[in-house]
């Protein structure tokens, strides 16, 4: 750059005027919701690749590798069956093993997504501080990783359900939309806890308690008919518990004689879809509003 000492015509401008004149934008500004969604869509390849990478990486140090994807849910089911099926002998439920594992695997989908989601920002600070990308990519890829895990455990579940004598019917196909609704619900909740967890790492300590309470309120381990003994308003609350709804949808589609808390199937689907919508959209907007805060401090 050779300079002949000409006087700059801009000299009179302040820094802000100079920036405005050349169309510069404020660093780290939050894009509009539409623009943010568009950018996120442009990063879909990254989201998918990152989800896959996480899945591979999580087992890379284990000798049995990705076999754990199937072994972990199986072991879990065996332990709970031992306690609730054999020791406490819940005979009131026909085909208790299938009832228990369905509830357990469906609940575990949300539980592991939420627990991983709480840390999806705080455990990736290196990446966040180094590169600029829509931060929602991280919680979303966490949800996808958990969905991939779910598919493996669904293979196990179908095996268990068939072996325990349930007939294969057309209703099984209803499991697909039920799981998709739950996945959208999970994505919303993961976005929510990702922002909360990014601000305060204390949430990581509290989350297991919340999930444990949620599990007991979702009729995973025992018959949902126990909830009928609660006062009326409490039963209503439990009836609208999203996880109970998704578990009942799965039990309805896979099992023939499982006790259900919600009598009306239409209501189950409506509540399930409603929760997916509310959580999905609400979680996304809530996460977007914090976009410029992630990775700071």
């Amino acid at each position: 750059m050779a300079t002949t000492a000409l006087v700059d015509p801009d000299t009179g401008l302040t820094q802000a005027q100079l920036a405005a004149r050349h169309g510069l934008r404020v660093a780290g500004e939050r894009p509009s919701l539409v623009e943010y969604s568009r950018r996120l869509w442009a990063y879909r390849h990254f989201i998918a690749a990152y989800a896959n990478a996480k899945l591979v990486a999580s087992y890379s140090n284990a000798k049995l590798g990705q076999l754990w994807q199937v072994l972990t849910p199986l072991t879990n089911a065996a332990v709970y069956y031992l306690i609730f099926g054999v020791v406490l002998a819940q005979n009131s439920i026909p085909n208790f093993i299938a009832y228990l594992t369905t509830g357990l695997f469906i609940f575990n989908f949300t539980q592991s997504a939420v627990l991983a989601g709480t840390q999806s920002i705080s455990s990736n600070l290196g990446l966040i501080r180094a590169l600029h990308f829509p931060r929602a990519s991280l919680p979303l890829s966490t949800t996808i990783t958990q969905f991939q895990q779910l598919l493996a455990s669904m293979v196990v579940l179908v095996g268990i359900v068939l072996v325990t004598g349930e007939p294969l019917t057309w209703e099984w196909l209803l499991l697909v939309p039920a799981l998709l609704l739950q996945a959208v619900f999970n994505a919303g909740v993961v976005l929510l806890v990702a922002r909360l967890g990014a601000k305060s790492s204390d949430l990581k300590q509290v989350m297991p308690f919340i999930m444990r309470t949620w599990m007991y309120g979702s009729g995973v381990l025992y018959s949902v008919s126990l909830f009928d003994r609660l006062p009326g308003w409490a039963t209503t609350v439990v009836q609208y518990n999203p996880l109970l709804v998704y578990i009942e949808l799965a039990r309805y589609s896979l099992l023939e004689e499982a006790p259900l808390l919600n009598e009306s199937l239409t209501q189950l689907w409506l509540v399930g879809a409603g929760w997916a919508l509310v959580a999905g959209i609400g979680g996304f907007i809530y996460f977007w509003r914090g976009e410029q805060e992630y990775g700071r401090g």
């Binding site: 300079t3 302040t14 820094q15 780290g28 990254f46 990446l127 990308f133 204390d202 308690f209 990775g295």
Partner: protein, 272 residues
Amino acid sequence: MVDHFDAPTEASATMTRTQERIPTVVVDDAHIIYRVHQGAAGGTTPVAALRRLVKRTHAPNVREVHAVKGISFTAYRGEAIGLIGSNGSGKSTILRAIAGLLPVNRGAIHTQGQPSLLGVNAALLNDLSGERNVVLGCLAMGMHPDDVAKQAAGIIDFSGINERGDFASLPMRTYSSGMAARLRFSIAAAKKHDVLLIDEALATGDKGFRRRSEQRVRELREGAGTVFLVSHQLSSVRDTCERTIWLESGVIRMDGPTDEVIRAYEAYANSK
């Protein structure tokens, strides 16, 4: 070369020029205050944590550090600017603010496009192979999968991690720190950036890699970009930058041609 700088702290306002120069980064009286958490004080039990969450209060011992105290300058297209100063003078902080990763508490920072920060701490996934990290890193920078496939081999060659056997297919945790830093630099340098912020990254690697990376920085500048370089190695600042800003305790001490600023800085550092 730019050669007329008057009062150091107002260099950008009094800068001389030939034709219309296009600013890429305008920093206008920026103040940055850090909040540093010194660990939990009010008990670490879940109950205490829950209480803090509900009340939305912060842990009591949060300290504030005023890292940058009113900095103004303008960077133009095609410039390479070195940032020097003692440890803790606010060099890395101002880079992170330009990248949009830290908020300014007062003042403003305007940028053209999205500046990319390239630091040695840019962690990728240590459990994955170098090849997969290349793909992930490129996708994270917003590159299209087709372009990534085309460039992946070139990036690994540039980093030189395969010079001693096939390291690209091994997990990154098996790499030496120099190898990992080289790979990270190669990934970040694979994309054209409007504004590239380099934090100490050129110091990594052996002589051959340093020559290659300095060459790469020069190419990035010629591609109409602006490059900022934070370094304690004055030689690499001298080799790559024609303009240098000297920061000391969060304020600009001098802003001008590299030779002059470095001479003054060396005199200052030796007299301490």
